[in-house]
Protein backbone atom coordinates (compact mmCIF):
# COMPACT_ATOMS: atom_id res chain seq x y z
CA UNK A 1 0.00 0.00 0.00
CA UNK A 2 1.49 3.34 -1.10
CA UNK A 3 0.89 6.53 0.85
CA UNK A 4 1.49 10.11 -0.24
CA UNK A 5 1.43 12.25 2.92
CA UNK A 6 -1.96 11.33 4.41
CA UNK A 7 -3.37 10.39 1.01
CA UNK A 8 -3.73 6.67 0.52
CA UNK A 9 -3.74 5.11 -2.90
CA UNK A 10 -7.03 3.25 -3.38
CA UNK A 11 -7.22 2.01 -6.96
CA UNK A 12 -7.34 3.15 -10.57
CA UNK A 13 -10.38 5.30 -11.30
CA UNK A 14 -11.34 2.88 -14.06
CA UNK A 15 -11.58 0.04 -11.52
CA UNK A 16 -14.98 1.32 -10.40
CA UNK A 17 -17.81 1.23 -12.94
CA UNK A 18 -20.10 4.25 -13.25
CA UNK A 19 -22.78 4.16 -10.52
CA UNK A 20 -20.91 1.52 -8.56
CA UNK A 21 -18.94 1.14 -5.36
CA UNK A 22 -15.78 -0.62 -4.27
CA UNK A 23 -14.87 -1.77 -0.78
CA UNK A 24 -11.47 -0.61 0.41
CA UNK A 25 -9.96 -2.04 3.60
CA UNK A 26 -7.18 -0.18 5.33
CA UNK A 27 -5.82 -0.42 8.85
CA UNK A 28 -8.48 -2.93 9.88
CA UNK A 29 -11.28 -0.63 8.78
CA UNK A 30 -13.58 -0.72 5.79
CA UNK A 31 -14.30 2.18 3.47
CA UNK A 32 -16.58 2.51 0.47
CA UNK A 33 -15.27 4.29 -2.60
CA UNK A 34 -17.94 5.42 -5.06
CA UNK A 35 -18.12 6.35 -8.70
CA UNK A 36 -21.41 8.22 -8.25
CA UNK A 37 -23.33 10.37 -10.70
CA UNK A 38 -21.62 13.59 -9.61
CA UNK A 39 -18.13 12.16 -9.17
CA UNK A 40 -15.88 10.02 -6.98
CA UNK A 41 -16.46 9.90 -3.21
CA UNK A 42 -15.36 7.91 -0.19
CA UNK A 43 -17.35 7.10 2.95
CA UNK A 44 -17.27 4.66 5.82
CA UNK A 45 -18.37 1.26 4.54
CA UNK A 46 -20.57 0.18 7.44
CA UNK A 47 -24.15 1.40 7.49
CA UNK A 48 -24.82 3.60 10.54
CA UNK A 49 -28.09 1.76 11.13
CA UNK A 50 -27.34 -1.93 11.13
CA UNK A 51 -23.64 -2.22 10.34
CA UNK A 52 -23.96 -3.95 6.95
CA UNK A 53 -21.35 -3.30 4.26
CA UNK A 54 -22.62 -0.54 1.99
CA UNK A 55 -20.19 -1.67 -0.70
CA UNK A 56 -22.57 -4.61 -1.25
CA UNK A 57 -25.43 -2.18 -1.87
CA UNK A 58 -26.95 -0.44 -4.85
CA UNK A 59 -25.75 2.92 -6.16
CA UNK A 60 -28.44 5.04 -7.83
CA UNK A 61 -27.20 8.43 -8.96
CA UNK A 62 -25.71 9.98 -5.82
CA UNK A 63 -27.54 7.61 -3.45
CA UNK A 64 -26.27 4.40 -1.88
CA UNK A 65 -28.85 1.90 -0.66
CA UNK A 66 -27.85 -0.48 2.14
CA UNK A 67 -28.06 -4.14 1.07
CA UNK A 68 -29.52 -5.37 4.36
CA UNK A 69 -32.36 -2.96 5.24
CA UNK A 70 -32.39 -0.55 2.28
CA UNK A 71 -31.62 2.57 4.30
CA UNK A 72 -30.32 5.30 1.98
CA UNK A 73 -27.49 7.82 2.16
CA UNK A 74 -26.51 10.78 0.02
CA UNK A 75 -23.01 9.80 -1.06
CA UNK A 76 -21.38 13.27 -1.40
CA UNK A 77 -22.49 14.44 2.06
CA UNK A 78 -23.12 11.18 3.92
CA UNK A 79 -26.57 12.45 4.99
CA UNK A 80 -29.12 9.76 5.81
CA UNK A 81 -31.96 10.07 3.29
CA UNK A 82 -34.39 7.32 4.20
CA UNK A 83 -35.19 5.12 7.22
CA UNK A 84 -34.05 2.86 8.69
CA UNK A 85 -30.90 4.94 8.15
CA UNK A 86 -31.14 8.12 10.22
CA UNK A 87 -27.55 8.87 11.27
CA UNK A 88 -25.00 10.55 9.05
CA UNK A 89 -22.36 8.47 7.33
CA UNK A 90 -18.78 9.59 7.70
CA UNK A 91 -17.25 10.92 4.49
CA UNK A 92 -13.58 11.22 3.50
CA UNK A 93 -11.80 13.49 1.03
CA UNK A 94 -10.86 11.89 -2.25
CA UNK A 95 -8.83 13.09 -5.22
CA UNK A 96 -7.77 11.77 -8.62
CA UNK A 97 -4.22 12.04 -9.86
CA UNK A 98 -3.15 10.46 -13.15
CA UNK A 99 -6.38 8.41 -13.12
CA UNK A 100 -5.54 7.01 -9.69
CA UNK A 101 -7.87 7.52 -6.72
CA UNK A 102 -6.45 8.65 -3.38
CA UNK A 103 -8.39 9.11 -0.19
CA UNK A 104 -7.51 10.76 3.08
CA UNK A 105 -8.73 8.96 6.15
CA UNK A 106 -7.66 11.70 8.54
CA UNK A 107 -5.67 11.54 11.74
CA UNK A 108 -8.19 9.52 13.76
CA UNK A 109 -8.82 6.69 11.33
CA UNK A 110 -5.38 6.84 9.77
CA UNK A 111 -3.53 5.53 12.79
CA UNK A 112 -3.77 1.85 12.14
Amino acid sequence: METTHDWIRVCAATDIDPEDVLRFDFGGRAYAVFNAKSGFYATADLCTHGGAHLSDGLVMGDIIECPLHQGRFHIPTGQAKSPPACRKLRTYPIRIEDDVLYMSIGPQDGKA
Binding site: G51, Q70, P83, D109
Partner: protein, 333 residues
Protein backbone atom coordinates in the same frame (compact mmCIF):
# COMPACT_ATOMS: atom_id res chain seq x y z
CA UNK B 1 -24.49 -21.15 15.30
CA UNK B 2 -23.67 -17.93 17.05
CA UNK B 3 -26.46 -15.57 17.98
CA UNK B 4 -26.36 -12.23 16.14
CA UNK B 5 -25.93 -9.06 18.11
CA UNK B 6 -28.90 -6.78 18.67
CA UNK B 7 -28.90 -3.76 16.39
CA UNK B 8 -27.83 -1.23 18.99
CA UNK B 9 -24.74 -3.30 19.74
CA UNK B 10 -24.05 -4.14 16.15
CA UNK B 11 -23.81 -0.55 14.97
CA UNK B 12 -20.14 0.16 14.67
CA UNK B 13 -19.10 3.79 14.47
CA UNK B 14 -15.49 2.60 14.43
CA UNK B 15 -16.23 1.19 11.01
CA UNK B 16 -14.36 -2.03 11.58
CA UNK B 17 -13.75 -4.12 8.51
CA UNK B 18 -15.70 -7.12 9.78
CA UNK B 19 -19.44 -6.48 9.88
CA UNK B 20 -21.03 -8.47 12.71
CA UNK B 21 -24.61 -8.39 11.46
CA UNK B 22 -26.93 -10.06 9.03
CA UNK B 23 -27.28 -13.63 7.88
CA UNK B 24 -24.08 -15.59 7.34
CA UNK B 25 -23.00 -15.71 3.70
CA UNK B 26 -23.53 -19.14 2.15
CA UNK B 27 -20.98 -19.77 -0.63
CA UNK B 28 -23.30 -21.64 -3.01
CA UNK B 29 -25.92 -18.89 -2.65
CA UNK B 30 -23.53 -15.98 -3.11
CA UNK B 31 -23.84 -14.16 -6.42
CA UNK B 32 -21.11 -12.19 -8.13
CA UNK B 33 -21.41 -8.39 -8.03
CA UNK B 34 -22.26 -8.05 -11.73
CA UNK B 35 -25.20 -10.48 -11.56
CA UNK B 36 -26.45 -8.92 -8.36
CA UNK B 37 -26.32 -5.41 -9.78
CA UNK B 38 -28.42 -6.60 -12.71
CA UNK B 39 -30.97 -8.17 -10.37
CA UNK B 40 -31.10 -5.15 -8.05
CA UNK B 41 -31.91 -2.75 -10.90
CA UNK B 42 -35.10 -0.74 -10.30
CA UNK B 43 -37.96 0.15 -12.60
CA UNK B 44 -41.08 2.30 -12.62
CA UNK B 45 -42.81 0.75 -15.62
CA UNK B 46 -42.86 -2.87 -14.42
CA UNK B 47 -44.29 -2.18 -10.94
CA UNK B 48 -46.79 0.37 -12.31
CA UNK B 49 -48.05 -2.23 -14.78
CA UNK B 50 -48.29 -4.78 -11.96
CA UNK B 51 -50.10 -2.28 -9.71
CA UNK B 52 -52.59 -1.46 -12.46
CA UNK B 53 -53.27 -5.16 -13.06
CA UNK B 54 -53.66 -5.76 -9.34
CA UNK B 55 -56.10 -2.84 -8.93
CA UNK B 56 -58.14 -3.92 -11.97
CA UNK B 57 -58.39 -7.45 -10.54
CA UNK B 58 -59.38 -6.10 -7.12
CA UNK B 59 -61.91 -3.76 -8.76
CA UNK B 60 -63.45 -6.69 -10.64
CA UNK B 61 -63.63 -8.87 -7.51
CA UNK B 62 -65.05 -5.91 -5.57
CA UNK B 63 -67.71 -5.44 -8.26
CA UNK B 64 -68.64 -9.13 -8.02
CA UNK B 65 -68.82 -8.84 -4.21
CA UNK B 66 -71.02 -5.73 -4.22
CA UNK B 67 -73.24 -7.29 -6.89
CA UNK B 68 -73.61 -10.40 -4.74
CA UNK B 69 -74.95 -8.53 -1.70
CA UNK B 70 -78.30 -10.04 -0.86
CA UNK B 71 -77.72 -13.16 -2.95
CA UNK B 72 -76.50 -16.65 -2.03
CA UNK B 73 -73.14 -15.78 -3.62
CA UNK B 74 -72.49 -13.10 -1.04
CA UNK B 75 -70.25 -15.13 1.30
CA UNK B 76 -67.94 -16.66 -1.36
CA UNK B 77 -67.67 -13.26 -3.10
CA UNK B 78 -66.89 -11.60 0.24
CA UNK B 79 -64.19 -14.15 1.07
CA UNK B 80 -62.63 -13.88 -2.40
CA UNK B 81 -62.59 -10.08 -2.42
CA UNK B 82 -61.52 -9.81 1.24
CA UNK B 83 -58.66 -12.30 0.88
CA UNK B 84 -57.17 -10.67 -2.19
CA UNK B 85 -57.62 -7.20 -0.71
CA UNK B 86 -55.95 -8.14 2.59
CA UNK B 87 -53.14 -10.01 0.84
CA UNK B 88 -52.46 -7.07 -1.50
CA UNK B 89 -52.36 -4.46 1.24
CA UNK B 90 -50.04 -6.56 3.41
CA UNK B 91 -47.69 -7.54 0.59
CA UNK B 92 -47.43 -4.17 -1.09
CA UNK B 93 -46.84 -2.43 2.24
CA UNK B 94 -44.08 -4.95 2.93
CA UNK B 95 -42.42 -4.50 -0.45
CA UNK B 96 -42.59 -0.70 -0.22
CA UNK B 97 -41.13 -0.83 3.31
CA UNK B 98 -37.97 -2.12 1.61
CA UNK B 99 -38.15 0.80 -0.81
CA UNK B 100 -37.52 -1.52 -3.73
CA UNK B 101 -40.85 -1.50 -5.59
CA UNK B 102 -40.55 1.70 -7.64
CA UNK B 103 -37.41 3.39 -8.86
CA UNK B 104 -39.09 6.71 -8.12
CA UNK B 105 -38.75 7.25 -4.38
CA UNK B 106 -41.76 9.56 -4.06
CA UNK B 107 -43.98 6.95 -5.71
CA UNK B 108 -42.63 4.21 -3.46
CA UNK B 109 -43.22 6.23 -0.29
CA UNK B 110 -46.72 7.31 -1.35
CA UNK B 111 -47.79 3.72 -1.98
CA UNK B 112 -46.07 2.71 1.28
CA UNK B 113 -48.07 5.24 3.31
CA UNK B 114 -51.39 4.34 1.69
CA UNK B 115 -50.96 0.58 1.99
CA UNK B 116 -49.59 0.83 5.56
CA UNK B 117 -52.59 2.97 6.50
CA UNK B 118 -54.89 0.31 5.07
CA UNK B 119 -52.79 -2.45 6.68
CA UNK B 120 -52.98 -0.73 10.07
CA UNK B 121 -49.31 -0.30 10.91
CA UNK B 122 -47.52 3.04 11.21
CA UNK B 123 -44.77 3.38 8.61
CA UNK B 124 -41.68 3.91 10.79
CA UNK B 125 -42.58 1.09 13.16
CA UNK B 126 -43.22 -1.12 10.14
CA UNK B 127 -39.79 -0.29 8.69
CA UNK B 128 -37.75 -0.61 11.87
CA UNK B 129 -39.45 -3.77 13.15
CA UNK B 130 -39.09 -5.36 9.73
CA UNK B 131 -35.41 -4.38 9.58
CA UNK B 132 -34.89 -6.19 12.89
CA UNK B 133 -36.73 -9.20 11.44
CA UNK B 134 -34.32 -9.29 8.50
CA UNK B 135 -31.24 -8.96 10.70
CA UNK B 136 -32.33 -11.55 13.22
CA UNK B 137 -34.66 -13.83 11.27
CA UNK B 138 -36.10 -16.40 13.70
CA UNK B 139 -33.63 -15.60 16.48
CA UNK B 140 -35.70 -15.81 19.62
CA UNK B 141 -35.69 -12.57 21.58
CA UNK B 142 -34.23 -10.61 18.66
CA UNK B 143 -36.60 -11.09 15.71
CA UNK B 144 -39.09 -8.25 16.22
CA UNK B 145 -41.72 -9.86 14.00
CA UNK B 146 -41.93 -13.26 15.63
CA UNK B 147 -45.52 -12.85 16.85
CA UNK B 148 -45.28 -15.46 19.61
CA UNK B 149 -42.68 -17.75 21.15
CA UNK B 150 -42.13 -21.15 19.60
CA UNK B 151 -42.93 -23.96 20.05
CA UNK B 152 -46.47 -22.66 19.78
CA UNK B 153 -49.54 -24.33 21.24
CA UNK B 154 -52.69 -25.09 19.25
CA UNK B 155 -54.52 -22.26 21.00
CA UNK B 156 -51.81 -19.80 19.88
CA UNK B 157 -52.11 -20.94 16.28
CA UNK B 158 -55.91 -20.64 16.39
CA UNK B 159 -55.59 -17.12 17.79
CA UNK B 160 -53.18 -16.30 14.97
CA UNK B 161 -55.12 -17.76 12.06
CA UNK B 162 -58.40 -16.15 13.20
CA UNK B 163 -56.64 -12.78 13.32
CA UNK B 164 -57.12 -12.23 17.05
CA UNK B 165 -53.38 -11.94 17.85
CA UNK B 166 -52.79 -9.75 14.80
CA UNK B 167 -55.61 -7.28 15.50
CA UNK B 168 -54.92 -7.13 19.23
CA UNK B 169 -51.22 -6.42 18.70
CA UNK B 170 -51.88 -3.77 16.07
CA UNK B 171 -54.48 -1.95 18.18
CA UNK B 172 -52.21 -2.12 21.23
CA UNK B 173 -49.24 -0.67 19.31
CA UNK B 174 -51.38 2.12 17.80
CA UNK B 175 -52.73 3.01 21.25
CA UNK B 176 -49.38 2.92 23.08
CA UNK B 177 -47.34 4.67 20.37
CA UNK B 178 -49.93 7.45 20.03
CA UNK B 179 -49.37 8.08 23.76
CA UNK B 180 -45.59 8.05 23.27
CA UNK B 181 -45.14 4.78 25.15
CA UNK B 182 -42.80 2.15 23.69
CA UNK B 183 -41.90 -1.37 24.73
CA UNK B 184 -38.31 -2.28 25.54
CA UNK B 185 -38.17 -4.32 22.33
CA UNK B 186 -39.27 -1.37 20.18
CA UNK B 187 -36.63 0.82 21.81
CA UNK B 188 -34.02 -1.83 21.02
CA UNK B 189 -34.51 -1.63 17.27
CA UNK B 190 -35.60 2.02 16.90
CA UNK B 191 -33.03 4.82 17.15
CA UNK B 192 -34.03 7.22 19.96
CA UNK B 193 -34.23 10.20 17.60
CA UNK B 194 -36.88 8.43 15.51
CA UNK B 195 -39.32 7.85 18.41
CA UNK B 196 -40.90 11.36 18.27
CA UNK B 197 -41.55 10.89 14.54
CA UNK B 198 -43.10 7.51 15.29
CA UNK B 199 -45.45 9.16 17.80
CA UNK B 200 -46.36 11.89 15.29
CA UNK B 201 -47.08 9.36 12.52
CA UNK B 202 -49.14 7.13 14.81
CA UNK B 203 -51.27 10.08 15.91
CA UNK B 204 -51.80 10.97 12.26
CA UNK B 205 -52.91 7.40 11.55
CA UNK B 206 -55.32 7.43 14.52
CA UNK B 207 -56.66 10.80 13.40
CA UNK B 208 -57.33 9.49 9.89
CA UNK B 209 -59.09 6.38 11.23
CA UNK B 210 -61.17 8.46 13.65
CA UNK B 211 -61.93 11.00 10.90
CA UNK B 212 -63.10 8.27 8.54
CA UNK B 213 -65.32 6.81 11.26
CA UNK B 214 -66.73 10.24 12.13
CA UNK B 215 -67.52 11.08 8.50
CA UNK B 216 -69.21 7.68 8.04
CA UNK B 217 -71.25 8.26 11.19
CA UNK B 218 -72.17 11.85 10.22
CA UNK B 219 -73.44 10.82 6.80
CA UNK B 220 -74.91 7.55 8.14
CA UNK B 221 -72.80 5.84 5.49
CA UNK B 222 -71.90 2.16 5.62
CA UNK B 223 -69.56 2.36 2.61
CA UNK B 224 -66.32 2.02 4.59
CA UNK B 225 -67.75 -0.89 6.55
CA UNK B 226 -68.92 -2.77 3.46
CA UNK B 227 -66.00 -2.14 1.12
CA UNK B 228 -63.17 -2.03 3.63
CA UNK B 229 -63.69 -3.16 7.22
CA UNK B 230 -65.83 -6.26 6.63
CA UNK B 231 -63.84 -7.64 3.65
CA UNK B 232 -60.56 -6.95 5.45
CA UNK B 233 -61.65 -8.76 8.63
CA UNK B 234 -63.00 -11.71 6.65
CA UNK B 235 -59.94 -11.84 4.37
CA UNK B 236 -57.27 -11.44 7.02
CA UNK B 237 -57.06 -15.17 7.91
CA UNK B 238 -55.97 -15.92 4.33
CA UNK B 239 -53.33 -13.19 4.49
CA UNK B 240 -52.22 -14.53 7.88
CA UNK B 241 -51.89 -18.04 6.42
CA UNK B 242 -49.46 -16.64 3.85
CA UNK B 243 -47.62 -14.56 6.46
CA UNK B 244 -47.43 -17.58 8.79
CA UNK B 245 -46.13 -19.83 6.02
CA UNK B 246 -42.96 -17.74 5.78
CA UNK B 247 -41.41 -18.88 9.08
CA UNK B 248 -43.78 -20.85 11.34
CA UNK B 249 -42.32 -24.18 12.52
CA UNK B 250 -39.03 -23.49 10.78
CA UNK B 251 -35.77 -23.71 12.65
CA UNK B 252 -34.94 -21.05 15.22
CA UNK B 253 -31.56 -19.52 16.02
CA UNK B 254 -29.88 -20.56 12.79
CA UNK B 255 -28.09 -18.21 10.41
CA UNK B 256 -28.93 -20.48 7.46
CA UNK B 257 -32.00 -18.83 5.93
CA UNK B 258 -32.92 -22.05 4.12
CA UNK B 259 -33.66 -23.60 7.50
CA UNK B 260 -35.42 -20.64 9.10
CA UNK B 261 -37.52 -19.54 6.13
CA UNK B 262 -40.00 -21.19 3.77
CA UNK B 263 -40.63 -20.38 0.12
CA UNK B 264 -43.93 -21.26 -1.53
CA UNK B 265 -44.43 -22.78 -4.95
CA UNK B 266 -44.88 -19.78 -7.29
CA UNK B 267 -48.41 -19.21 -8.52
CA UNK B 268 -48.89 -16.42 -11.05
CA UNK B 269 -52.42 -15.61 -9.94
CA UNK B 270 -51.64 -15.58 -6.20
CA UNK B 271 -48.35 -13.75 -6.77
CA UNK B 272 -50.27 -10.94 -8.47
CA UNK B 273 -51.70 -10.12 -5.02
CA UNK B 274 -48.78 -11.53 -2.98
CA UNK B 275 -46.24 -9.50 -4.97
CA UNK B 276 -43.92 -12.49 -5.53
CA UNK B 277 -43.36 -13.06 -1.84
CA UNK B 278 -43.66 -16.77 -2.62
CA UNK B 279 -39.92 -16.45 -3.21
CA UNK B 280 -39.41 -15.80 0.47
CA UNK B 281 -36.01 -17.41 1.05
CA UNK B 282 -34.74 -15.56 -2.00
CA UNK B 283 -36.16 -12.31 -0.61
CA UNK B 284 -34.40 -12.82 2.72
CA UNK B 285 -31.13 -13.70 1.01
CA UNK B 286 -31.17 -10.57 -1.16
CA UNK B 287 -33.74 -8.06 0.16
CA UNK B 288 -32.43 -5.40 -2.23
CA UNK B 289 -33.71 -7.37 -5.22
CA UNK B 290 -37.13 -5.96 -6.23
CA UNK B 291 -40.16 -8.26 -6.37
CA UNK B 292 -40.22 -8.43 -10.18
CA UNK B 293 -36.65 -9.81 -10.32
CA UNK B 294 -37.23 -12.55 -7.73
CA UNK B 295 -38.15 -15.20 -10.34
CA UNK B 296 -34.81 -14.52 -12.07
CA UNK B 297 -33.02 -14.72 -8.71
CA UNK B 298 -34.78 -18.01 -8.04
CA UNK B 299 -33.59 -19.36 -11.39
CA UNK B 300 -30.01 -18.63 -10.32
CA UNK B 301 -30.32 -20.23 -6.88
CA UNK B 302 -32.97 -22.94 -7.10
CA UNK B 303 -30.55 -25.85 -7.26
CA UNK B 304 -29.37 -24.96 -3.77
CA UNK B 305 -32.77 -24.17 -2.23
CA UNK B 306 -35.35 -26.47 -0.64
CA UNK B 307 -38.23 -27.58 -2.86
CA UNK B 308 -41.06 -25.03 -2.42
CA UNK B 309 -44.52 -26.23 -1.43
CA UNK B 310 -48.05 -24.90 -1.97
CA UNK B 311 -49.83 -22.82 0.66
CA UNK B 312 -52.08 -25.72 1.71
CA UNK B 313 -49.10 -28.07 2.14
CA UNK B 314 -47.20 -25.38 4.04
CA UNK B 315 -50.09 -24.65 6.41
CA UNK B 316 -50.86 -28.37 6.79
CA UNK B 317 -47.18 -28.95 7.48
CA UNK B 318 -47.20 -26.34 10.25
CA UNK B 319 -50.08 -28.12 11.99
CA UNK B 320 -48.45 -31.50 11.32
CA UNK B 321 -45.28 -30.28 13.07
CA UNK B 322 -47.39 -29.11 15.98
CA UNK B 323 -49.14 -32.51 16.12
CA UNK B 324 -45.88 -34.47 16.05
CA UNK B 325 -44.32 -32.26 18.68
CA UNK B 326 -47.34 -32.38 20.95
CA UNK B 327 -48.45 -36.01 20.74
CA UNK B 328 -45.93 -38.31 19.10
CA UNK B 329 -42.96 -37.11 21.12
CA UNK B 330 -44.86 -37.89 24.28
CA UNK B 331 -46.23 -41.20 23.10
CA UNK B 332 -45.12 -44.28 25.08
CA UNK B 333 -42.26 -46.23 23.51
Amino acid sequence: MSRPLPLEMATTPENTAASPVGPMPIPELTLDRKSLKELMRRSNALPLRRLALCLIALGFLGYLYVSAIGSRWFLPALILFGSTLSLTVYSLSHECSHGTVFRNRWLNETVFWVTSLLFGQEVLYRRYSHAAHHTHTMFVGYDAQLPFPQPARLKTYLLWYTGIIYHTQFLRILFLHSLGRFSGTTRTFTPAEELPRMVRNTRLFVLIYAGAAAVSWYFSSGILFWIWLLPKLVGDPVMLAYAGSQHFEKEENTTDLRRSTRSLRPNRLIDLFYWNMSFHIEHHLYPTVPFFALPKLNARLRDHLPEPVGILSATGGIFHEWWVRTFRQHAPE
